[in-house]
């Protein structure tokens, strides 16, 4: 009797161990299947059939391709890095948006400059600015420019230099089964006003006339009466900053109800609404519910193509063209946004917004409208030459040599006119009153 129980216990334990080992082996053999049983919404994708419009914008591609670059007078090309650098360890902290790209930059830079080690702590933009202000890191990083209050909070006598180091775009991602049973793939059309009304809770079903009016007749006829579930980030994020910045410009109701854009905006109450942490949380929530929509960073979508039941829509730009985000039309938006002028690196960047700059720009007809820069923050007057020289060298390398390393991850290389502004800003960094870069 007693031994029976012992045997049962032994069998249970052995079964758990064997099951775990076999399960692991089985999953690792077929490594391209997802390791967790994908929950609901079978990804039965019928690709071509579901009429994806994407009105390819015609006319003048030349206008957007050649904006007048270099708002600041920098006749010289990229500044030559200092030839010999002492060994140094650079510590940075800030936004999570840049973290995947930073982890590509770190080893690549280590190869170029083996004596310098860069550590980056993705604590969030707000915490990054706090640590930068407390001078516990060599550089801060933020997805939103510093606010007036944050500039005022800097230690007295110091000046912050703002350096755009990368860019990203935000797309409306959704999971929608059409009335005929097929899955809506990429290319549902949106405007800023309609997106604002969806997230304000005033458009509540997918067959709302306001959404139907934006689609081709064949798609409009298939939009179901499914309730719209809105999903957004529960944590503060540069992705949300860009998205609400666009809605803020697109809808006066949004502007009065939600207020000025921030990395952790006060979302209005929609009838069916949830928030989840990080891009992965938002993506998971959208893909688990038919009829869900939420803003996602383009890099996240491109990295996970084919792995989730997520699709994303087009957004109308100022010229009225519906643009499906990709690296080239995001680059076009950045170039157009920077061509209307950026402040000097040591001036206030509080009001800088690529979205504001391009919101009424009707000449850049191919640009994707929801784009945002992410910024590194360094002090103008460096107090330690070795650290300062290493920091300037690293930033210069990021801006001039590191940009193309991120394209595989969905990060858009900065256009030439922003690189020129960055190089001018880096020349402002001094040690003992003299610029570190000559």
């Amino acid at each position: 009797m007693k031994s029976t129980y012992v045997i049962i216990a032994a069998i249970v334990v052995i079964a758990i161990i064997i099951g775990g080992v076999f399960g692991y082996i089985a999953l690792s053999n077929s490594s391209n299947t997802s390791p967790t049983p994908a929950p609901t919404t079978a990804p039965t994708v019928a690709p071509g059939s579901t009429a994806t419009p994407t009105p390819t914008p015609t006319s003048h591609p030349s206008t957007s391709a050649s904006p007048s670059p270099t708002p600041t007078p920098t006749a010289t090309p990229a500044p030559t890095p200092i030839p010999t650098l002492a060994p140094a360890v650079l510590n940075g902290a800030g936004g999570t948006l840049i973290a995947p790209l930073m982890s590509v930059w770190q080893p690549a830079y280590q190869q170029a400059m083996s004596q310098i080690t860069v550590n980056y702590n993705p604590v969030g933009s707000g915490a990054g600015i706090t640590q930068f202000t407390q001078q516990v890191v060599d550089f801060g990083e933020s997805d939103a420019p510093m606010t007036a209050a944050q500039y005022n909070g800097l230690p007295s006598g110091t000046t912050a230099i703002t350096i755009p180091i990368s860019a990203s775009a935000v797309v409306p991602a959704y999971n929608l089964k059409l009335a005929n049973g097929t899955v809506m793939t990429n290319g549902l059309n949106f405007t800023g006003a309609v997106l604002a009304n969806i997230f304000l809770g005033s458009i509540t079903t997918w067959n709302d006339p306001a959404i139907q009016a934006l689609q081709s007749p064949s798609v409009a006829a298939q939009l179901p009466s499914t309730t719209i579930t809105t999903v957004h980030r529960s944590d503060g994020s540069g992705t949300m900053f860009a998205f609400v910045n666009f809605l803020y410009r697109s809808s006066s109701t949004w502007a009065t109800q939600v207020g000025v854009p921030s990395t952790s905006p006060s979302w209005p109450t929609a009838p069916a609404q949830i928030a989840a942490p990080k891009n992965a949380g938002v993506a998971g929530a959208i893909s688990s519910k038919d009829g869900a929509i939420g803003p996602l960073e383009i890099a996240y979508i491109l990295e996970n193509t084919g792995q989730t039941s997520l699709y994303y829509g087009t957004v109308a730009n100022a010229a009225g063209n519906y643009i499906l985000a990709n690296v080239s039309n995001i680059g076009a938006a950045l170039q157009a946004g920077a061509s209307s002028g950026l402040p000097a690196g040591n001036a206030s960047w509080t009001t800088v917004s690529m979205i504001d700059n391009t919101y009424t720009n009707t000449t850049a007809t191919t640009m994707y409208p929801i784009v945002t820069l992410t910024y590194a923050l360094v002090y103008q007057a460096q107090t330690n030459y070795v650290q300062g020289a290493a920091l300037v060298n690293f930033m210069s390398w990021i801006v001039n040599s590191g940009q193309n390393l991120g394209t595989g991850l969905g990060y858009v290389p900065l256009p030439a006119n922003i690189v020129a502004v960055d190089n001018a800003s880096l020349k402002l960094v001094t040690y003992n009153g003299t610029p570190i870069l000559h």
Partner: protein
Amino acid sequence: MQFKVLRGDTILKILLATAALFIIGLVVALAAELFLGSASSIHSFGPSFLIGTQWRSSQNVFGALPFIYGTLLTSAIAIVIGFPISLGVAIFISEKLKGHQTFGYGLGIIVDLLAAVPSVIYGLWGVFILIPLLRDYVETPLHNSLGFIPLFSGNPFGYDFFTSGVLLAIMVIPTMSAVTRDVLSVVPNSQREAMYSLGATDWEVTQKSVLPYARSGIFGGFILGLGRAFGETMAVTMVIGNIPNITTNLFSAGATLSSLIANNFGESTGIYQSAIIEIGLILFFVALLVNGLARFMLWRMTSGARGRA
């Protein structure tokens, strides 16, 4: 010789006193830091912070009530589901398996292993397994058949109070059952034998003799579990939906004090950060209050009890 022994005792006494004082100092320092960090928020918003129902950080409108409500509600669900299960597991191991120590140990170890799983793993499991499972097989049927009751009136999405409560229940079971098991195992056999000699059945022995004898210890385990449910952050953040809501509808997204801190601390500065630290202060005091209340009830219970476990 005599002198030496006294010296050793004195040193030991000082060392032990230091250890004890260190803990007291730590609690005081924690409270002081939370008060200092939230000073500007307490000063600006006063008591309206506690009863406000709106949380709009960009407009500096801060109300903690939805988060307090979320913390209490999810913990209550966790206890309602988790406590009977823990009690059942403990009684089964210590009473029914009395003659089969090995199997009892094995089962106990498996239950204890639940406590060793990191909470972010529970969160991931919650997102990918528990949410679809509960939504399709529990919440939707409940909503369809009992939707007229306010508790089940919402359109089930899976990211809600109910899922968080179930996940928390799983996380508090090992704590509660381990303590209960230990307490039941030290109930003297004379207690049981006395009942059996009167012709009592197994259940009568457990119900009338063992459980009353061990009730203070069981209650202690209950409190430990409750403490875990209050403070649990990561797993809850991943499944609760993070929308500040005060509603009796269990199938609605909510938010807890700890999920708010986890979500927003990194992006906060100035008065916003101060408000988040005040949320931490509230969590600290809610936990102290509930623990204190439980201790008081324990004291009331044991003052009349025949023995202690």
